[in-house]
Symmetry: C2
């Protein structure tokens, strides 16, 4: 059968009655890579694909990725696939596509960092002094990265409500989203040796969309002096299907000029991705009425100041190594217009300017809300808020 | 042969000419657990021990740990071990004992947090407002946790030297240590469901000493607003041999009273470990002269305000799951006396009060310095600073 499709995206799925294995989503179908390899149709062995994560394949490096990708494109374009190697996308259960090694989240959108600074530190310069000198980032929790579609339990946490005499432990009242790109690292680097900025791309397998769910009340109370912790660590959702860098290179465009010029180890022409991104939201009431999700944010992945290569060079500048399966978030992507703000924190100005959603008012997420991140050439990320236990 | 020893510690080692496998350090010897299991001498299968990490064993839970431990103690005490299952400790190469899942570092010593606050924020209350309400912590880099004995390459990084017009990228001039306990998580918890404080111990396999190497100049410049990142992520050293909780229970003693009383989810009698801890340092010149390391810090693991159980309850209070192999640092342990300060930051008051080391003056670490953390019932952690490439 033939499958017309421009993008081929890599993931892990469990065909009905079979063990989890690697697959490639192509349009409305999923190709079973373990089965294709077993039949000798791929330039790599079945053992790379008959596993419940892509890590073994990711570790192999660009040459293997490119050979497999080219062959898969031939197979898809040639329309000559054995029937039992193809499944309808709608009928497969996608799983987390890779075992996350370390998860690092940056803070690289100028508009987002400026908005966050204005909201949280209105008396100060909105950008911290280091912001234009280095890509600010921190480590998140790798063990709670989940695949698109996983329900998100409203986190409980400790925070101090205005007017109360002491902090309390309660279900968060400010559950938020963050619209991000996630970089999936394929090949590792050596511990003790920084990755030069001009070689950073070699380590990148591909991109996913990423929703860095955040509990703003918990985050606000815990964050000084060591940064975000439980306000973030309850869940991070990523797309089920990774788009290989291969298929995204033609969307790379120069980013905004950087001033001051970065230090040598970060110096390069920053390249960003010209990909439209959006966030849609559907409340429980909308779902009951049979209404589709409504778009509440539309922006572009161009709105990132520090490029992926600069983030990788910085992350390893102290000799820290990359591992196969490292996940690197861009930070919330926000553009200059109000409609381009990639978090509800910004969209509602921390609750001071609630927005309207089909007759309801929203600042932060309500139980039953379903959030969908979408982007050009990237697999959707969805998640619905379920009540705290 | 008989091996008299009170503590049995678990690790991974590579006997000459063989694949890495699990072992137990008992005094001056290491027992090969894979070989003992193969000979039917352990109440668990060889497949748990013939791997290059302890994770499979850690995942099995307390019942299996206790059965194996009791049997090993019998074997060691009985002195009836097949000769080819025992190696001299001095001749084996210990490896990282487990694959680190997520690494979280707390900040739970009152004296350390107070000292750090006085040094970095002299104009403010030394303790941040949240400190007595919750165990402050953050995620570190799991991929750069290394085993004792691994050389530590002096990290380069971006920082702003006093009197300079702009930040620079240079070898760190303030490489420091942090004396910590590390908790090794055995059994996982369910994502979405907090671990109650009274059940936290069930998940703990054992303890190691942990040196949270820190580059203070890098940390200082990068840390606002998202916390420590590259100032910490270049390396974290842990002991090669894990002491099981089993063998440490008799050293548990009540910790200091907590005021204010913690919220319900953290409320318990905080128990700490009555274990003496020390830091020794040997400069390159001392090594050349054949001198032994000199003790520069001596304190107690009692100097922790938030207990291990409270840290675990807090870490999962938002529904974040524990995974087998999670590593939880206590935070630097400092006592009230100057000689009890668990970091050079505190010992030298950020360079303002250098200390003397065998005729040399020290604030932070010099190339060639070797640092050794030691503690009652715990395996040493050593590391030597080698120059930046």
């Amino acid at each position: 059968m033939g499958i017309p499709s421009r993008t081929l995206q890599y993931g892990i799925f469990r065909p009905h009655g079979h063990a989890a294995r690697a697959g490639v989503a192509a349009g409305e179908h999923v190709l079973d890579l373990a089965a294709l390899a077993r039949e000798g149709l791929l330039p790599a062995g079945e053992e790379l694909f008959s596993r419940p994560s892509l890590n073994a394949f990711l570790a192999r490096g660009r040459e293997v990725w490119q050979e497999c990708h080219a062959r898969l494109r031939e197979l898809v374009d040639g329309g000559d696939l054995p029937v039992d190697t193809v499944f309808p996308l709608a009928e497969v259960e996608p799983l987390l596509p890779f075992e996350v090694a370390d998860y690092v989240d940056f803070y690289s959108s100028l508009e987002h960092a400026t908005n966050a600074g204005r909201i949280f530190r209105p008396q100060d310069d909105p950008l911290p002094p280091n912001w234009r000198h280095l890509p600010v980032g921190y480590h998140g929790r790798a063990g709670t990265v989940v695949v698109s579609g996983t329900p998100i339990v409203r986190p409980c946490g400790q925070f101090w409500r205005q007017g109360q005499a002491a902090p309390e432990y309660l279900p968060s009242e400010r559950v938020d989203i963050e619209l991000e790109l996630g970089v999936v690292i394929g090949t590792p680097s050596e511990h003790g040796t920084p990755v030069p900025v001009e070689r950073a791309l070699e380590h990148v397998f591909g991109l996913v969309l990423l929703n860095d769910w955040s509990a703003r009340d918990v985050q606000g109370w815990e964050t000084v002096p060591l940064g975000p912790f439980l306000g973030k660590s309850f869940a991070t959702s990523i797309g089920a299907w990774i788009t290989p860098l291969e298929d995204l290179m033609e969307r790379r465009v120069p980013g905004a000029a950087q001033d001051p010029q970065p230090l040598d180890y970060l110096r390069t022409e920053p390249m960003v991705f010209d990909l439209d991104l959006s966030v849609s939201l559907r409340s429980a009431a909308m779902a009951e009425r049979g209404e589709p999700p409504r778009e509440i944010v539309r922006t572009s992945a161009r709105n990132v100041y520090w490029s992926m290569e600069q983030q990788i060079a910085h992350l390893t500048a102290n000799g820290a190594s990359l591992r196969t399966g490292d996940l690197i978030g861009s930070g919330t992507i926000s553009g200059p217009e109000r409609s381009e703000r990639g978090s509800l924190l910004e969209l509602s100005w921390n609750g001071e300017e609630p927005f309207e959603l089909d007759g309801e008012r929203r600042s932060y997420l309500q139980d039953g809300d379903e959030v969908i991140l979408s982007g050009d050439l990237l697999s959707d990320v969805s998640g619905r808020i379920v009540p705290s236990h």
